[in-house]
């Protein structure tokens, strides 16, 4: 069935076979090789749409190969491989199957040439990923998983509604750039917005990611949001609204990231902020900005993944990711610390790391277009990223106060995965040309100008200084065991209490009404029984006289009628 071929199929087929591969080394190897097979399918293909066919009058294209889909496909595949390596120790078939399905769906979505295929894989990512949360097997993760699932599937159904409207409006379902304006496109944007964690649509991330298993969170951090960024780049490049959304997105999670105690949640907030950069890039929409967004997505897959891996390794060895319980881990987990610092440097956009070469594309794009305030806001967001993730996170985990934890260094699989990811971050930073060559638009850009390198170093150094100073004085908000309320409060607390209230009200009204109706019915039945029951006047055996009376009565009645 060559016409049904897409890289996703390799993953899905592989996922179905996972239970039959013996656990341990063989299965680990198997999981590592699947992404390789996936890449082989599309690598080297000339751009174009493959495997197109007609389904019920709709033009389905399972595989569209162009630079944009290829770079995301490649990044996803690589990340899937690294994640598999990271999860080498894992013996949970459910998570392994879910991982493959999840990665496959994400890659399938990236290569989808039409909206239906996109929808199919879009939902695929939602369903497959929730198992990574549920696999934690606790009450809390069950509830978080349910919330995550409802929102993710919600995104999917909004997408399909948008597609329906779009199909109705345009008569086609091919997935190309759209103009925001009709209900169809607004709906599609909303669907993407949920997965992309636009402000106020973002809560699922902070709710679900820290609720997953050790390896699950790493995998979750890779695909869903970047898929959404891809969809924005494909569907809504140059949509001005996205610039403002992106700016808001980049800025507001910073405060939460500074307050959070759970390091995995800190990372989700910082991920959310980084996504803001990409959304701005999509919104600016110039070839450079698109390149920037794509590059930043790729770079952030790896450095954010690296950070999640490091925190995951800590959790794996200590049983907690709470900042309040950690600290001083550099003693026993120095390698993890080093890799974490590489990730931190990347997100801080330190020169010669991947963050530097990707973020500067977006900032430059804003700069070329003279979008001063956007530029300024992004700069502020960068500063925030340096502060909360570049400095605070490693500080709380590895330095800070000694929590007297002396865990063992992370296991080999994790270390190797982190090492490779860290190497990638640095390689991209040192040799940006390789990344740039893969970007969708052909734009010349040189990140390592003298000015640019120096100012970025200035920024990082001064912020670090400020941080060191503030830490010495205890000026930063303290990490405490706490819950920081976010917008999810509205549906986790407000909405349920409204529903409870309504339910109580409706229940009372219903009770009252049904009691009323029931008593009326009872009365009716009683009255009927009184009249028609065995002893009732209608059923009773009347004496002959009474019968005759009845005859006389009827006769009288009809006779009256006679003389009318």
């Amino acid at each position: 069935m060559p016409e049904y071929y897409t890289p996703a199929l390799a993953y899905i087929a592989a996922a179905l076979l996972v239970p039959f591969v013996p656990k341990g080394f063989l299965r680990g190897l198997y999981l590592l090789l699947v992404p390789v097979a996936g890449v082989l399918i599309f690598w080297g293909l000339t751009p174009g749409t493959y495997n197109a066919f007609n389904l019920m009058g709709m033009q389905i294209g399972l595989m569209r190969v162009d630079a944009l889909s290829q770079i995301f496909g490649l990044a996803f595949s690589l990340a899937a491989m690294l994640a598999a390596l990271y999860a080498w120790h894992l013996r949970d078939t459910v998570q392994q199957v879910a991982t493959l399905l999840y990665a496959g769906s994400a890659i399938g979505a990236v290569f989808a040439a039409d909206l239906i295929t996109l929808f199919v894989f879009w939902e695929g990512t939602a369903i497959a990923s929730v198992f990574l949360i549920w696999a934690r097997r606790t009450e809390g993760s069950f509830a978080a998983g349910m919330r995550y699932l409802v929102i993710q599937i919600g995104s999917g159904v909004i997408l399909i509604a948008g597609i329906v409207l779009y199909y109705r409006e345009m008569g086609t379902i091919s997935f190309t750039a759209m103009e925001l304006g009709s209900p169809a496109t607004w709906t599609i944007l909303a669907a993407i917005g949920i997965k992309c964690a636009f402000p106020f649509l973002h809560n699922w991330m902070h709710d679900a990611y820290p609720s997953a298993t050790v390896t699950g969170t790493v995998i979750l951090s890779i695909f869903t949001t970047k898929l959404a960024v891809y969809a924005l780049l494909r569907g809504f490049p140059g949509t001005e609204l996205l610039i403002y959304i992106g700016v808001a997105m980049a800025l507001f999670p910073i405060a939460f990231a500074l307050l959070e105690n759970d390091l995995r949640r800190v990372l989700t907030y910082s991920l959310n902020s980084q996504l803001g950069f990409m959304v701005v890039g999509a919104g600016i929409g110039t070839p450079l900005a698109i390149n920037g967004a794509a590059a930043h997505a790729v770079a952030s897959i790896f450095y954010q993944g690296l950070l999640f891996m490091a925190v995951g390794a800590i959790l794996f060895r200590t049983g907690t990711a709470r900042a309040t319980a950690l600290g001083g881990l550099y003693r026993t987990m120095p390698l993890t610390m080093i890799f974490c610092l590489v990730g931190a440097a990347s997100i801080s956009a330190l020169p010669f790391t991947s963050g530097f070469v990707s973020k500067s594309l977006i900032l430059s794009a804003a700069g070329y277009d003279k979008m001063f305030y956007v530029w300024l806001a992004l700069l502020a967001a960068s500063t925030g990223a340096i502060l909360h993730t570049g400095l605070r996170l490693p500080y709380l985990a590895f330095f800070g106060s000694d929590g007297s934890l002396r865990p063992k260094e992370a296991p080999g699989g994790m270390l190797l995965a982190m090492a490779l990811t860290a190497a990638l971050c640095i390689l991209i930073g040192v040799f940006p040309g390789a990344l740039y060559a893969l970007l969708p638009n052909d734009v010349k850009y040189e990140p390592y100008t003298f000015s640019h390198t120096i100012v970025q170093l200035q920024l990082v150094a001064f912020v670090a200084l400020a941080f060191a100073w503030a830490v010495g004085r205890g000026l930063l908000p303290k990490a405490e065991r706490s819950t920081i309320l976010d917008f999810d409060w509205t549906y986790r607390r407000l909405l349920p209490s409204i529903i409870r209230g309504l339910r109580r009200l409706a229940g009372a009204v219903w009770d009252r009404a049904s009691r009323n109706i029931n008593s009326r019915l009872d009365n009716l039945v009683a009255a009927v029984f009184q009249l028609h029951g065995p002893q009732g006047p209608i059923a009773r055996t009347w004496p002959t006289g009474a019968m005759v009376m009845m005859v006389a009565l009827l006769l009288g009645m009809t006779l009256v009628l006679t003389y009318l």
Binding site: R136, G328, T332, T383, K408, L457, Q458, A468, L476, S482
Partner: protein, 116 residues
């Protein structure tokens, strides 16, 4: 980074990260801070030797990135404190419907001590 130095036992010397021991003491912190001050001064000085250029006028301000970073840090710290004051709740605020208050299940972990 105070009060933890006494926890450093002889045993820690054998740990793989022993190279950095002392960095989390008050003295270590001071050293790091001064090192940073030195770096900052150097980087600021570069600017006066080789003039830099950016996209906007504001970048021409002396050591713009330096003071901008510090200002943003201050603003963020204040803002975060305000947010924290308003939105911080008990860890078990959402009860059993959240993972916040529960421990990570042991089967998913391999908690091993370094000295074990």
């Amino acid at each position: 980074m105070t009060g933890s130095s006494d926890k450093t036992t002889t045993n820690d010397k054998a740990l793989p990260g022993a190279m950095l021991l002392g960095i989390d003491t008050a003295r270590g912190g001071r050293i790091v801070t001064w090192l940073l001050v030195l770096i900052c001064i150097l980087l600021a000085a570069v600017e006066f030797v080789w003039p830099l250029h950016g996209y906007f006028e504001i970048e021409d301000q002396p050591v713009f990135y330096g003071w901008f970073g510090i200002l943003v840090c201050i603003a963020l710290a204040i803002f975060a404190r305000i947010i924290g004051a308003i939105l911080k709740r008990r860890e078990d605020y959402y009860g059993s419907l959240s993972v916040s208050a529960e421990e990570h299940p042991a089967f998913d972990l391999a908690q091993e001590k370094a000295d074990a």
